[in-house]
């Protein structure tokens, strides 16, 4: 899972998603397969259940630990007394975070960059995906080739940097918006959706009525594409929210740093104590306190995504499945 895999490259091979949407069928099947279980099946089932539980615990526990550690006494955390439940609840870490202006400046910057960035992303990517989904639009093959080639080959760091410099994007907020305005990967997902989910008959009858491509796209395609817009919008938003590289390479001015770069300063280079109000603390105490602040910052910085997550979760499968259908 190198960076390319995280992006979930589109699969050009068709994996037909014939959803077993028939719920009754599934239930009947489940009942059926529980009826004639052999002894070895029970063993296999038990092992599978055990492994699944272990996997779940391995994923949930670290996240749970961060939550409880963020408002437990830092000393109790450091000597291993906080295991399953918070101990000696204290909110000093959060108080400190609230008072740290750097975090809020970063938060504000990232919110601005992410919202504008996502809006531009959708504006550029979605219409393009629709145009390229039209089979009668012959130039689409060469355009697609032009686009997919960039997924496998790029100019590299320095040529890109020099280009940004010539365009005057260094230390400008537009460097978060413009260079990544278009995403080939997300365009392919949207295009697959348009190809498979918008019935061709709709376009035909609209054409008979003299509806142009513009009219059809805005009046019919967009209203039918809520789910895919949500998924792709989320992909873009998460991408902007978690972006660290752009800030590192192109931003000089700390006041313009997005959240991730502020977090890097605080979390990884141990500049936790802004205003150094730690008079009378031993070095260990200070370190423990710093750790508590870190746990809190991890929670605070991930909050928007954690809040969005449950609402959008049901769309994820859909989005990735569409991406899996022939690109």
């Amino acid at each position: 899972m190198t960076s390319s895999m995280q992006n979930n490259e589109p699969i050009t091979q068709a994996t037909t998603v014939a959803n077993p949407s028939n719920k009754k069928e599934i239930i009947a099947w489940n009942r059926h397969r529980h009826q004639d279980k052999t002894a070895s099946d029970w063993v296999v089932d038990a092992i599978i259940a055990l492994v699944v539980v272990v996997v779940l615990v391995a994923i949930i526990y670290p996240l749970w630990f961060i939550i409880i550690a963020s408002f437990s006494s830092p000393t109790a955390v450091s000597i291993g007394e906080v295991n399953f439940w918070p101990k000696d609840v204290s909110f000093t870490g959060y108080a400190k975070i609230l008072a740290d202006t750097r975090i809020w400046v970063g938060y504000r910057n990232t919110l601005i960059y992410s919202i504008i960035g996502t809006a531009v992303n959708l504006l550029v990517t979605i219409p393009s995906a629709y145009a390229l989904s039209r089979r009668e639009f012959k130039p689409r093959r060469i355009i697609m080739f032009l686009f997919t080639f960039t997924m496998f080959f790029s100019g590299g760091l320095i040529p890109s940097y020099l280009l940004m410099k010539q365009l005057g994007l260094i230390n400008s907020m537009w460097v978060f918006v413009l260079p990544g305005a278009f995403s080939v990967y997300n365009m392919i997902i949207a295009r697959s959706f348009f190809e498979t989910s918008i019935p061709e008959e709709l376009r035909d009858s609209a054409r008979v009525d003299g509806v142009s491509y513009f009219g059809f796209f805005f009046k019919i395609v967009l209203p039918l594409s809520g789910a895919i817009l949500a998924v792709i919008g989320l992909y873009f938003f998460v991408g902007h929210w978690n972006d660290y590289f752009t800030g590192l390479i192109y931003i000089r001015d700390e006041g313009k740093y997005p959240l991730q770069n502020v977090l890097q300063m605080i979390l990884l280079t141990n500049q936790t104590t802004q205003g150094s109000g730690n008079v009378g603390m031993s070095a260990t105490q200070a370190q423990n306190f710093a750790d508590q602040i870190k746990f809190g910052i991890i929670i605070v910085s991930s909050l928007p995504l954690l809040v969005l997550y449950p609402f959008l979760q049901k769309y994820f499968n859909k989005g990735v499945m569409i991406g899996a259908v022939k690109g």
């Binding site: 895999m5 014939a18 996997v55 145009a131 080959f153 790029s154 590289f245």
Partner: protein, 324 residues
């Protein structure tokens, strides 16, 4: 049906075009005008994206010639004296060359192999869960870490592995494991698997959901047990997907992501953690050796591309799976 009709229309159009071409301009010109008249709205939809791709992907690609030129501040992206392979030779003779290449290869191979197997196993497991509710709960939980940012992920690793106080670190002795060169690659790939296996298994689950239930029934009647169902129905079902993903991943053998390695690096583990992408950054933007850095980057891209083509070729020959 519709395709047929439009095809006939198209042919008819072509014939009339051919007749009239002698009178009105050239055929090509007329064709272009007609095409634009019919499709200018689709062009309007796609032109902004083409402009962005050309400017931000193809212009830097054109700038790759910097790898063969001495960088000149007054001339920018494409200027300077032509020096040929000088910077590539410099890289091959660089005392860091072997170390960087082997680090890159080691880290990415571990991540590729483990990060490739884990989602497949996980998908097969999740697919075995009978109750749809439990299944969707497990999926929700396993996707979650995917959304954690790299910076936060690395700081979680650091806090957990902190010697004597960290959740895991307290079992690992008094010296920092983050500074241990031998531990770098394992920490890297284990955390990658932890973070992304759940997300990456969605694609296999999608493939598995397409299995015809009748196939299970038939296998059952033939006396197949749980394991045989996995072995003879589930695994063959996901094989095409596995093939395509394998090819795509081969395109990044030398493509260890920059962010995570950069953030996990420290002075103690640098000998095991300097990879091509971090070295390109250090040489290029921190030491201002623009041409040299471009050459290293180009070398990296070419090796990746070569592996992609090779994997694609082999897969095409052996299993008829390919991405182009």
């Amino acid at each position: 049906m519709d395709a047929n009709v439009s095809n006939i229309q198209h042919v008819a159009k072509k014939k009339t075009q051919a007749k009239t071409s002698a009178r009105h301009g050239t055929l090509l010109y007329r064709k272009v005008v007609e095409h634009l008249h019919q499709y200018w709205q689709l062009w309007a939809f796609t032109l902004p994206s083409i402009a962005f791709v050309v400017l931000f992907a193809y212009v830097p690609m054109y700038g790759v010639q910097l790898a063969f030129r001495q960088f000149d501040f007054t001339k920018g992206l494409t200027g300077g004296t032509w020096v040929g392979w000088q910077y590539f030779e410099q890289f091959f003779r660089d005392p860091m060359f072997v170390e960087i290449l082997s680090n890159t290869f080691r880290i990415s191979m571990w991540t590729l192999v483990m990060g490739f197997i884990a989602p497949i196993v996980l998908a097969l497991l999740i697919n075995q869960i009978g109750s749809p509710k439990v299944k969707s709960f497990v999926q929700t939980i396993t996707y979650m870490p995917h959304f954690i940012s790299t910076v936060v992920m690395v700081s979680i690793i650091q806090i957990f592995l902190a010697p004597s106080t960290g959740l895991l670190g307290r079992f690992l002795g008094r010296t920092s494991i983050m500074g241990d060169p031998n531990a770098f690659a394992p920490i890297y790939w284990i955390s990658e698997v932890w973070q992304h296996a759940g997300w990456n298994c969605i694609i296999y689950l999608a493939a598995l959901s397409s299995v015809d239930l009748a196939l299970y029934e038939a296998a059952r009647i033939d006396g197949a047990g749980r394991l045989q169902l996995i072995r003879y129905v589930d695994i063959p079902t996901i094989m095409p997907t596995v093939g395509v993903l394998l090819i795509l991943n081969m395109g990044s053998v030398l493509g260890v992501g920059f962010e995570k390695v950069w953030l996990m690096q420290n002075t103690l583990n640098i000998n095991a953690s300097e990879v091509i992408s971090t070295y390109t950054y250090r040489i290029g933007l921190l030491n201002n050796q623009f041409s040299y850095s471009t050459a290293i980057g180009l070398f990296n891209s070419l090796v990746n591309f070569l592996f992609l083509i090779m994997a694609n070729f082999i897969a095409k020959r052996t299993s008829d799976t390919s991405i182009f």
